[in-house]
């Protein structure tokens, strides 16, 4: 991993006006239920899926479209280092936003006179950080496949397909198809809940294997796709 790429990616993501508007709006919207019902604590805050998507969209594709990647790879940077740095930057950036979101929620809860459960906040943070690293891995693969923000389109299409296939499986009572689409949905939203892990849930090894297999496979495939990508200054539109 290369710290310079991580920092540059964070700077690029957090200085994009559109992303900033989406992030701020998402954080404030997530705080409304806390404001209305502070007694429920952090339970009303949703996960960081959309926050992660807002930061991850076009994480590699935009570098390809803008011609940044062509210039970057003129330096002694391997494509693997580039992909891993992007992955860590996006997941780390999302985690930072989640920390800010939870701190704001804690402030709202405290100001409304309810007690703040720091244990609950830690649990949410752990879940969200794992989700952020999972989504970043998936988006790194999708973003390596298509330029610009095409990764969002691919993700939407994939979700739509799993919904249609899942519905078909349910309609026709094809258990195997239903189960397969559930697994595909887990690939598109790789999450790992910490609570069952801490409490000896017997299904935890399966959940851990499922999460890690998605993350490692997406990263490995993203690097392989990048390795086979031919970048030309001419096609960059320069």
């Amino acid at each position: 991993m290369i710290p310079a790429i991580i920092l540059a990616t964070l700077r690029q993501r957090f200085t994009s006006p559109m992303r900033l508007v989406i992030l701020v709006a998402a954080v404030w919207i997530s705080l409304i239920p806390v404001l209305v019902s502070p007694g429920s604590g952090f339970a009303m805050i949703g996960d960081c899926y959309f926050l992660a998507l807002a930061l991850a969209a076009g994480m590699i594709g935009e570098d390809v479209s803008s011609g940044t990647l062509q210039l970057l790879l003129a330096r002694p940077v391997t494509r693997r280092q580039y992909v891993f740095s992007k992955w860590v930057a996006v997941a780390g950036g999302t985690s930072l936003v989640v920390v800010a979101q939870l701190l704001l929620a804690a402030l709202v809860i405290a100001l409304r006179g309810a007690s703040v459960s720091w244990g609950g906040a830690a649990l949410l943070l752990a879940n969200d950080v794992l989700l952020a690293f999972g989504i970043s891995a998936v988006m790194s693969l999708l973003s390596a496949l298509v330029p610009g923000l095409g990764d969002l389109g691919l993700l939407f299409l994939a979700f739509l397909s799993t919904q249609v296939l899942g519905g078909l499986g349910s309609l026709k009572s094809w258990g195997a198809l239903e189960r397969a689409t559930q697994e595909l949905q887990r690939v598109l939203k790789p999450e790992l809940n910490v609570w069952p892990l801490l409490h000896g849930d017997p299904a935890s090894p399966a959940a851990v294997a499922s999460y890690l297999s998605t993350v490692t496979l997406c990263l490995a495939l993203a690097v392989m796709v990048m390795n086979r990508k031919e970048l030309s200054y001419v096609s960059a539109g320069g």
Binding site: D47, P76, V77, G120, E183, A206, S210, S213, N227
Partner: protein, 198 residues
């Protein structure tokens, strides 16, 4: 013409060390780990499907005959009647919970007995499905140190002197432990508080 620095590994002053060789090496180790995990994942999915089918064979026609109350209703009823609370900490994904349901809670005679002697309250864990539980579920799980499913807790309405029965080790064993817990609470009720003895 000299080869590029990336290939020779030469470093200019002030630049990070460069690695010689291609910048496009495939991550074979990572790929191998990913494939291993994928095989493991498929194995888990197949095992889970088999377990589900096995549990489903017995549970598909199961009708739970215990009259589970919402927590606040159960607490009020327990306070009013003096009958102990029977808290069933369970989760939809838990195969032993389904087995307990089919062997104990679906049995009309046993369910009637439980309804008569206890105030039953079910505490359903949704952490896996929904990502988090309702605060009251988390609070009860923490209070009674629930670390696995199923866990039955028999307690007074004030939550004092709880008896925990963790896991499902068969109908007779579980019913025996439930009865022991009920007797334990009755004995506790007969002992006057420390201040009253003097």
């Amino acid at each position: 013409m000299s080869p590029p620095a990336a290939e020779t590994g030469r470093v200019s002053p002030g630049e990070p060390p460069r690695r010689a060789g291609s910048t496009r090496r495939d991550p074979y180790v990572l790929l191998a780990i990913a494939l291993l995990l994928l095989v493991l994942r498929i194995g888990f999915v197949i095992r889970e499907a088999r377990q589900r089918a096995r549990a489903g064979d017995g549970a598909s026609e199961v009708v739970d005959r215990v009259a589970w109350r919402p927590l606040n209703v159960g607490l009020a009823e327990s306070r009013a009647t003096g009958r102990p609370l029977l808290l069933d900490f369970t989760a939809d994904w838990c195969p032993p919970c389904r087995l307990m349901q089919s062997e104990i809670f679906a049995d009309p005679g046993t369910a009637a007995e439980l309804n008569r002697r206890f105030v039953p309250v079910r505490v359903l864990d949704r952490a896996r499905e929904d990502g988090r539980n309702a605060p009251w579920v988390d609070s009860l799980q923490a209070r009674f140190r629930v670390g696995a499913f199923p866990t039955l807790v028999i307690t007074r309405p004030d939550g004092e002197a709880p008896v925990r029965i963790e896991g499902y080790l068969g109908r007779d064993f579980t019913l025996g432990r439930i009865e022991d817990a009920r007797l334990h609470l009755r004995v506790q009720d007969m002992v006057p508080p420390a201040g009253a003895r003097q």
